[in-house]
């Protein structure tokens, strides 16, 4: 059961707490069972109703939900084997981006993704999924490793954005992101990108160039976080909900613009309600696409990726 509810989920929370109450009551067991079934049914209906009509800002809240599955949760369920590889070989091991070699189904792959961390301690360790240059450079090193050993690359995006810090700037945050974009555009191995949570700005795109781009149903993807966009355009970060609306950051809108290839259905009420189901959905798509992309000769694959990049916003 979900531990924390979002504001707009309060009616669901009320029903679910009623169920809990009933289950712990002294009433006749048959009576309890019957009522619980009814209540469960109405909870499902209500969840369907609420989640089929999320506003962009509500969608942002789901994408940022404190219990939403993270990179480590997906890896645990998607990868049959995984060995984490550390460090950028230049400066440090950024914990906001994790990566390694592993196996998904029968496919040996390199996997890279943002990790936000769950507990306060972990969040600090992973810097809330906001990478510094060394994170992008570690990712780049692993991308090249993938290419060298002919391993497909799978990335998972979940970040508010690149870290805005003095030391990040000193060590070339811009260059680190730009270089990854350049490298990914011509990397000679299949790349499957998955936007699983927040896709915030260049910090997200730095893992986001590929041959097949998946986006989870309730993930978001935009040029800047709603707060940043609001403070740039409205000069007021309080206008984040309006910015979320204006930026059209939800999967449906982005799919219509042909900027992603596939929307991965989430369990009813969001991925945080069922990690296993969310993971198996995403795993199925990854395996299908690995199978498909592995058939394509590398020259054609890279050429197609280039054409796809050129088609973005072409007039």
């Amino acid at each position: 059961m979900v531990k924390s509810y979002l504001d707009f989920e309060q009616p669901i929370a009320d029903i679910e707490s009623k169920i809990l109450e009933l289950e712990n009551s002294d009433l006749d067991q048959d009576q309890i069972n019957k009522e619980v079934i009814d209540l469960n049914e109405s909870a499902v209906k209500l969840t369907e109703k609420i989640y089929s009509n999320l506003s962009p800002w509500q969608n942002v809240q789901v994408a940022r939900h404190s219990e939403r599955p993270h990179f480590v949760d997906y890896i645990e369920r998607i990868a049959d084997e995984f060995d984490e590889l550390h460090g950028d070989r230049h400066f440090s091991d950024d914990r906001a981006i994790l990566g390694g070699i592993g196996k998904i189904g029968d496919y040996k792959v390199v996997i890279i993704g943002h990790e936000k961390g769950r507990s306060t301690e972990e969040k600090i360790k992973h810097n809330f999924g906001m990478s510094q240059p060394e994170g992008y450079r570690k990712a780049c090193r692993l991308m090249k490793l993938a290419e060298r050993f002919n391993l497909p690359l799978v990335t998972m995006i979940d970040t508010p954005g690149a870290y805005p810090g003095i030391d990040s700037e000193e060590r070339g945050q811009s260059e680190a992101i730009a270089y990854n974009l350049k490298v990914m555009s011509s990397l000679r191995t299949p790349i499957i990108v998955n936007i699983v949570g927040e896709g915030g700005s260049g910090g997200a795109l730095a893992l986001g160039v590929g041959d097949h781009i998946n986006m989870m149903e309730h993930a978001t993807y935009s040029v800047a976080s709603p707060e940043a966009c609001a403070s740039i355009i409205w000069r007021d970060s309080e206008m984040a909900a309006e910015a979320a609306e204006a930026m059209k950051l939800s999967a449906n809108n982005i799919f219509e613009l042909k900027l992603i290839d596939e929307i991965i259905k989430e369990p009813l009420g969001g991925a945080h309600r069922n990690y296993d189901q969310a993971s198996s959905q995403i795993k199925n798509s990854i395996i299908n696409n690995l199978e498909r992309l592995n058939q394509i000769p590398l020259n054609d694959l890279v050429e197609k990726r280039y054409e796809r990049l050129m088609s973005y916003g072409a007039l």
């Binding site: 070339g172 811009s174 730009a178 011509s186 355009i233 930026m247 809108n253 982005i254 916003g313």
Partner: protein
Amino acid sequence: MANWFEKILPSFIRKGSIKKSTIPEGLWQNCSACNNILYVPELETNLYVCMKCDHHIRLGARKRLELFLDTSGTKELSEGKSPKDWLKFKDTKTYKERINSAEKASSENEALIVMEGTVNKLPLVAAAFEFRFMGGSMGSVVGQKFVEGVNHALSNQLPFVCFSTSGGARMQESLVSLYQMAKTSAAIEKMHQAHLPYISVMIDPIYGGVSASLAMLGDINIAEPKALVGFTGPRVIEQTLNVQLPEGFQRSEFLLEHGAIDMIVHRKDLKETVHRLISGLISNRKS
């Protein structure tokens, strides 16, 4: 012809048809750094660098290319393209309204101008961002024009020079705009694969999506003195971390010290330097 024609015109029209006023307008300009009043014709010959404090005053994109390229044989590429409102974006104003006022402010259709021309007779393609057009932000048309410029360079085996000055990606095009970072970077990768020089010239200021794509990817990165270049703007860093930023943070001199750029070049030396660097990259070794 004009003389006899003017004579037969009523005087009030005649007056209007001749140059407006004998009192020169726009002959004086304040330096935005030292606030000294500068004589514009002199400023023009000084390439809009303040005669008093050496501040590099902002130049329009067209002026920039005019000063950089040889006077004859220039041709604009991908001319006349206007932005597209993919998202029907609206904040306090609609994107359409913002485009209209940007056109008025800059007399341009978009924030990037691309030209083919020569620099000291060396043929190349040069692009320049127009900061007055929505802060030089990169939307889909900017990305497209950049790529078309690169394609022109690729098919004619020419070097490519880009003068960047930009607030970053254009919010009004959200993800379409973000993707231009990948699109332009992919095009630069083609330049690299073709062994054609790509020179990035950084002009004050460059942030966000333009900094984290085409501006940082030069074979050689050059900056004008004291240009501000970074990923996150100083105001955001200060507010987020609640710190005071060190003196000279994100200035060209800071970038040079931290290894992000190859050199700082004074505006008066830019043309010669870029010409020399490109010539230097074209090898005469028999392969």
